[in-house]
Structures are given as C-alpha cells and as structure tokens.
C-alpha cells in the first residue's frame, strides 16, 4: 500500500510526521486516484438511486397516462385518471383519513405531553415500573391487540365509529410518544419552571407557558409521527369499522384494487398519489423545521 508513514520512522525524533517525509509519494497521483475513486462511487450510488426511483417513476407515468397499464409508456399528461379516482371515492376516503389522523394525533399528543411532563418532573409512585411498561408497550405488535379490541369495541358499541377508531389509533402511538417526549423534556433545563414556581405560577400555567414552548420540537416530532402512522392505518379500520362511509384512504385504495375485475392502473395510480401527497408534504415540512433532522446529511459536524 505504498510507504506507510508512522511516527516510528521519523529518525530519532519523537515528533509527528513532517511534510518532507511524505515527499516520496507523488502528490499528484494520490489526489487523482481519490478523485477517480469518488466518481466511481458516485456512479454506484446513482445506480442504486435509479433502482429505487424506477417504481415511483412508473407511478407518475401511469397516473398521467390514458389507458395506463403495468408497463411504462409515454404519458399524455392528462388529468382524467385523477377525475376517475375522485369519482371512485378518493375524495371521501381522504377526508375520512384526515379525520382519523387529526383526531388521533390531537388525542395522542395531549395525553402524551401530560404524562411525559409528569414522568419527567414530578415524583410519581412506581415511576420506574411505569417507564419500563411504557417502553415495552412500544414494541407490542398491534396484531395481538386486534382481536380483543374488536371484541371489546363490538360489546361497547364503539365499532363503526370514526371517533372511537381514532381513539384506538391514538392509543397505538401513545407509548412511543410518551417515551419520546419524556426524554425530550428531561433535556429541558428546569430553571425556568422553578423560577415560575417561585413567582407563584401553578402547574398548568408552568406547563402551558414554559414547558410546551421549550419542548416544541419534540412535540412536533411526536405529532408528525402519530399523524403519519394514523394516516396509513389499514388493519385497525378494516376490522373495527365496516361502514363504507367511514372508509379511510388506505382501505379505499385496496377496495378499488380488487373491484371491477380488472385492475385500473391509471385511476389507481392517481388515487395513490393523491393519498400520498399529504404525508410527503408533512415530511418536507418537518425536515425544514428540524433543519434536516431526518435528512441524509453528514460530513459536517453538528
């Protein structure tokens, strides 16, 4: 691998490597080799990127083509598929998804902030046990809860109700949200709250005026993750809400896929794009807000 220059080779001195010692490696060739390497690696990663984008290109292609099929073709840039998708119920389904996502996010965020603040700042009996339980619940698959929740909901008459479906969806996100928010609030310095308490502010005021503004990034992340989770909900609504008027987007797309015998690729692609847009927009907003928190950044420290 060429001359390895180590501290040992520097004569009798124990100083570091001096510039003169590396003179025997032709400077130009080293730089050129690294530059060429970089371009080869560029090429490799671009190939991977192309492999990833191809299915998405098909989706765009099919959504804007007349008589779209599973093959790729030149799109005519029509909006007919989008109209067909709306005619097939995309508008209503997306509205239902909006309801489920907004209500469940609201419930989950409020509930989690209250619990996370208390677990972070106050003395709570059995706090340690509670935190372990919350941590374990984050890993509990919904598949286990599906049948019991279905039976319970039917007994309570809570099935076929968008509101109670939202409650169930909120519950699935609460353990992770509590864990995320508690860890976040732990990092917030307590001096502000203590100062406010000395001034005579009560618990609610401290929470509302001080803790929540300071914890906004964490709250934002928890809310967005809950929203995205509830937006794509499929299994839970499938099981506990049989009313076709309450069908959310994911189920709507699935039903459209299996309807009418032949799969209508054009309208379905449009439907899929319409359904995906809000989530994509949310993701873009969140990366802006968090200064690239989710972004594939690197190299620069901090």
């Amino acid at each position: 691998m060429g001359t390895a220059v180590t501290a040992k080779e520097v004569g009798g001195e124990t100083q570091g490597v001096e510039a003169s010692q590396v003179a025997d490696v032709p400077k130009g060739s080293l730089v050129r080799r690294t530059k060429r390497q970089r371009f080869i690696l560029d090429g490799i990663i671009v190939l991977v990127g192309l492999a990833f984008i191809l299915p998405m290109l098909w989706l765009l292609d099919a959504a804007f083509s007349n008589n779209a099929s599973q093959a790729m073709s030149v799109p005519q840039l029509t909006f007919g598929n989008f109209k067909a998708a709306i005619a097939a119920g995309a508008g209503g389904a997306i509205k239902n998804s909006l309801y489920l996502a907004i209500v469940s996010t609201f419930i989950a965020t409020v509930v989690s902030i209250l619990a996370a603040y208390v677990l972070s700042r106050r003395r709570v009996p059995l706090k340690g046990a509670m935190l372990i339980v919350v941590l374990f619940l984050t890993g509990l698959p919904i598949t286990l809860l599906l049948i019991p929740i279905y039976v319970m909901y039917v007994h309570l008459g809570w099935d076929n109700s968008p509101f109670y479906t939202s409650v169930a969806l909120a519950a699935t996100s609460v353990p992770f949200a509590i864990w995320l928010l508690k860890n976040f609030i732990d990092q917030v310095p307590r001096e502000f709250e203590e100062a406010a308490a000395i001034e005579g502010a009560g618990g609610v005021r401290i929470l509302w005026r001080i803790v929540i503004p300071l914890a906004t990034p964490g709250i934002f992340v928890a809310a967005i993750l809950t929203f995205i989770n509830s937006w794509g909900a499929f299994l839970l609504p499938l099981v506990i809400d049989a009313n076709p008027q309450n069908t959310p987007g994911a189920l709507g797309i699935y039903e459209f896929m299996s309807a009418n015998g032949r799969v209508q690729f054009g309208p379905l692609s449009a439907y899929a794009i319409l359904f995906s847009l809000p989530v994509i927009v949310l993701y873009l907003i969140s990366t802006r807000w968090l200064h690239g928190g989710f972004a594939f950044a690197g190299g620069v420290k901090g």
Partner: protein
Amino acid sequence: MTALAETVLAEPQDRPKDRPSRRNDRERVRPSTFLWLSPATALLVGLFLIPTGYAIYLGFTNMELLGPYAQHFNFTGMANFNRMVHDPVFWTSVKLTLIFVIGSGIIAQTVLGLALALLGQRVHVTVRASVGAIVILAWVLPEIAVAFIWYAFSQAGGTLSDLVGKSGTDLLSTVPLLIVCVANTWRGTAFSMLILSAGLRSVPEEVDEAAQLEGASYWRRLFRVTLPIMRPTIMVNMLLITIGTISDFTLIYAMTQGGPGTETAILPVYMYIQAFTFNALGYGSAIALALVLIGALLSIVYIRQLRPELKRAQ
C-alpha cells in the same frame, strides 16, 4: 431530655400539633399528578393492558366471530395450541415470517442501509442528498401505495418482469415471497440508512486515521475498526427493524392476501385470515400469542448482544 428530643421521640399522638408528621426531605406527590397521568393511564390500560390479558384468555377459548360460539364460548384449555402445533399451515407461516423478517428486514435492509451510509460518506454532497431523498421518499410513502406500486411492477408485462427478462410471467404468482421481500426492503432501507449513517458519524476519526497510518486497507478498517465500534447502533437498528417488520400486515395482505394459496401467509396475515375469514377468534388469538413469543425471542437475542454496552454505560 431536651425539648427537641422529647418531640422527635414522642409517639405520633403525643406530638404537638404544630409539628408536621410527614417527612420534608422527599418531594411530595401532588394530587394534580394523578389527574394529568389519568388520560394516558386510561388509554394504556384500556387499549393495551386489558386487551393483552384478554388476548391471552381468548387464546384458550373457542370464541368465534359468528354462530353458536360468538356469544357463548367455552374455555377449551390447550385445544387451540394443540391445533396450532399440528397445523402445517401454521408452521409454514412461522417459516415465512422468519424469512420475511430476517431476510428482507434484518439482512437486506441493514446491508443496503450500511452500503448507502458508507457510500454516502465518500460521494459528492449533491449526489448523496439526491439519492438519499429518493430512498427516504420510498420510506415515507403510505404502505398501501407501496403495495400497489410493487403489485403493478411485478405483474406480467410490468416493468420488473421486463427488466428481469421474463415479460410474460406474473412474478407475483411465481415468486411471491421474493417479490414481497423486495418490496419490503425497498420500503424500509431508508430507516437503516439514517440510523447507520448517524452511527457512522459517531465513529471518531482519529481511530480510523490511526488504522490508516498503520497501513490497514479499507475493508480491513471497516470490519476490524468501524463496524465493531458501531455494534450497539447496529444491534438497536436490528431490534427496531424486527419489531416493526414482524407485525407488518398491510403490505403483504394488499399485494397477495397471503397467497397464492399460503405462499406469503406470514403470521399476522394468517392470524387475520383465521380470525376474520374463518371466524375462529380464539384460534386467531392463539396465533397472535405465538407471534408475540417469536418477536420476544428475537428481541432477547439483540438485547443480550447489547448487554456489555449497557453495563458499561451504567
């Protein structure tokens, strides 16, 4: 005895009334604490803990969706589990689940995510940002959209079939498990890429440079220095992938409904079919319990790998 000693040593009923009988050195529990905890407690107890207990109970019954056993079901002891052990479809399902989780989740997503993270370190910034955005976009798409895209992609005449050179074949019918695994990897790689690239950034440069000065080649440095330092990150990543993938329902159900036949019937899908298509809620619950058990066993493996790091952190 001094007045103070008298006060402290006196029985509670003898103590003067102006001295409080509770401790002042520990923070007191405020009543509002319980109020603020109550919504979360209600949700978690009502929609997690109680259903978990109920699921365990149901696994030992013969409750059904409709018919005679819907209202008046019986406790049947180990009957469901006996049936499970002798059910060939169940064992197929377990095998498929393991292939799906370990193959397309643990192995494929970690390797691909690591490759992207490593490559990302050494390419031009714009290239890295664009490819990163594409990979993450695949992750952000709703699962049903992914299912539809890959359904179309692998149909006869679809783009994947064309690329592979078998235009006429419906890949989803001929190699269904492979297709759903590819779709799942496509969807999930971004997660590993993000976590592992964060882990890579936390490897101190000095260690890598020292190895370079010693004359170690790239691959040697990778396997002997970088990856061992990243071990906790890799283990946590695998744990999270497992937890997320093992209960995945939508992707496979929307693409194949577990078929053709039972070729892609991973445990969540099989549970759904048994419970809601064949009406066997009790048996379905038993299958769900088996799923949780498998997930727990896999998680224990990773947590044990993490134990030396956790001990050191304490």
